[in-house]
Structures are given as structure tokens and as C-alpha cells.
């Protein structure tokens, strides 16, 4: 992941927001969607994505559907009711964070 330390804390929020917008998605699809939206700037690795998805599933934020697709099994993830509420809360937290960061960093950026 590019600038991994900056993005690390937001990975689950990114995944949950994408699932909120797209309904259900599978792992590879999530990585490609993030790459597409950020025009290749942000790449989520398998090593970061799957443990995060499994953690969210264990917490009851996500539920899974398994389907046979093209000779193999595909695990789709989608938000649960709890997950939908949680996404709204996390997005609000992220917005606060961005606002605070802008307030802290913007004056310094303007002077550069």
C-alpha cells in the first residue's frame, strides 16, 4: 500500500464504504476498485486486505455469501445491518480526522 502508515488506519473504513456503495464484492474486486478510484495511487495488498475482511466478518460487520463461479468458489462480502450503521459512524470519524488534519497542516502547506 502506498504511504502505508497514512492509509493503514483507514483500510477498514475504505472497504466498508466500498461495500456500502457497491452492495457485495469479493476480495480481488475490492483491490481493483480501490486501484481504479485512486488511479493506481493506492494498492491494497492481499496480506492487508483479507485479514481485515476476516476481522470485520468476525465482528459481525460483514457477512459472506459463497458462490461457485467459473470452476471455483468465490466469497462475496456485504455489510450487515450493524455494518451499515458502523460505516456511517466511521465515515463521520474520518471526516472529523480529515478536517482536523487540514486545520493542523494547511497553514503550514500554504507557507511552503
Amino acid at each position: 500500500m502506498k504511504n502505508s502508515q497514512l492509509y493503514k488506519g483507514s483500510l477498514t473504513t475504505i472497504v466498508m464504504t466500498l461495500l456500502g456503495e457497491n452492495g457485495r464484492m469479493y476480495g480481488y474486486e475490492i483491490t481493483q476498485k480501490v486501484k481504479e478510484i485512486t488511479k493506481g495511487e493506492l494498492k491494497i495488498t492481499e496480506g492487508a486486505l483479507y485479514p481485515a475482511l476476516h476481522k470485520l466478518e468476525a465482528e459481525g460487520v460483514l457477512e459472506v455469501e459463497i458462490e461457485n463461479v467459473d470452476n471455483r468458489l468465490r466469497k462475496y462480502y456485504k455489510l450487515t445491518e450493524k455494518g451499515t450503521t458502523e460505516t456511517v459512524n466511521r465515515l463521520a470519524e474520518l471526516e472529523d480526522f480529515i478536517r482536523n488534519m487540514q486545520a493542523l497542516v494547511q497553514p503550514k502547506l500554504d507557507t511552503i
Binding site: 480481488y28 486486505l49 485479514p51 468476525a58 465482528e59 459463497i66
Partner: protein, 206 residues
Amino acid sequence: MNLSKDEIRFIDTYLLSNDVVYTDIRQEMVDHIATAVEEKMSTGQNEFYPAFKEYMILNKKAILKNNKKQWSFSWEVVRQFLLFLFKPSMLFFGILLFFFFKKVDVNPYFSESFTVNNLFFVLVITLALFQTGYVRWYLKKRFYAVEKAGNILMILYQLQLFFLPIFGKENVSVYTLTLFTFLFTGYGVYFLKEIIKFNRHRLNYI
């Protein structure tokens, strides 16, 4: 371009030979790699093996890192178990247990030849054998979703060795008896809950 069954099996065998032993984890990785290889094959690289090799050279480390994370001891599993124990129904059960042990003195039922420690040891062995039997003889495949709870049983085993008297006929306090009966019963129920959750997808996996 979709991969054939043999090509999918090739990826599965490759992952298995790289120690991705859990079927549920492997199946998700197989789909990830297969989708990426199919994409490569539809945008230039027409042959399966070169496309697979090209993809794995770049991504093998990240993919197997995902497996290592699943393999290692997970605090997340312990956290989920603790959250389960703190559910109102479980706490109510714990309170009932406390009053039961307060009212009924079970210490006379134990002797030097069969201590309370022996009882919990038998419980650990029974639970462990049930889990092993379920995986080896019933499922016949390894699943992380089933085996992950084994870590908790190991911790409970160590705890009972530490807190319960191993030798002699020492009386065990109401608090210790309540705590360990609560933990072991809680574990049994938690494991069954996990099995029920797993069984909702089992037919898909197998």
C-alpha cells in the same frame, strides 16, 4: 478467458505445497489468483502458466503473508471469545453457577485419586478430542474457521493447571469453581456456535 478445472486445481496444489493448509483460506486465495491470472490472460499473456508465473513473481510474498497472519496465534479469536462471555445471557449463567456452587458444596465429591483438577483435565481432553475428531473424521479437511478456537482451549488448559490444585485434596473455592465451570461451559457453547456458523457455508466449501 476463464480458467479450466485443471488450471484451478494447479493453483490449489501450488498453494497447498506452500503450506496454505486451511481449505477455507486457500479457496479464497485460489479465487484471487485465478481472477488476476484470467485478467492477465485477457490482456496480452495468452498462456496460463506464463501468466500465473508472472503474477506469482510479483505477488507471492503478499499472498503468503496473508496465510502467515491466519496461521499465527490470533488475539482477535480470544477477543471474540471474551466478548461472547460478556453477553448478558452468559453473565446470567455465570451468576446462576455462582449461587449453585455457594449452595452445593461439591468438594466432598473429590478425593486424592480424583481431584477437581482431574475433572477439568478430562473436560479439556474431551473437548480437544471432539474437535480433532470433527476435523479428521467428519470434515476430513482442515478449516481455519473450525480450528481457530483451539487456541482458546490451550489457554484454558494452562489456566486450570495454574489455578487448580494438582495434588492432594485441597478444597477449591466457590469463586474458582464458578470461574472455571463458566469458562469451560462458555468455551463449549462458543465452539458449537462457531460450528453452526461454519456449517451454513460448509456445503459450499466442500
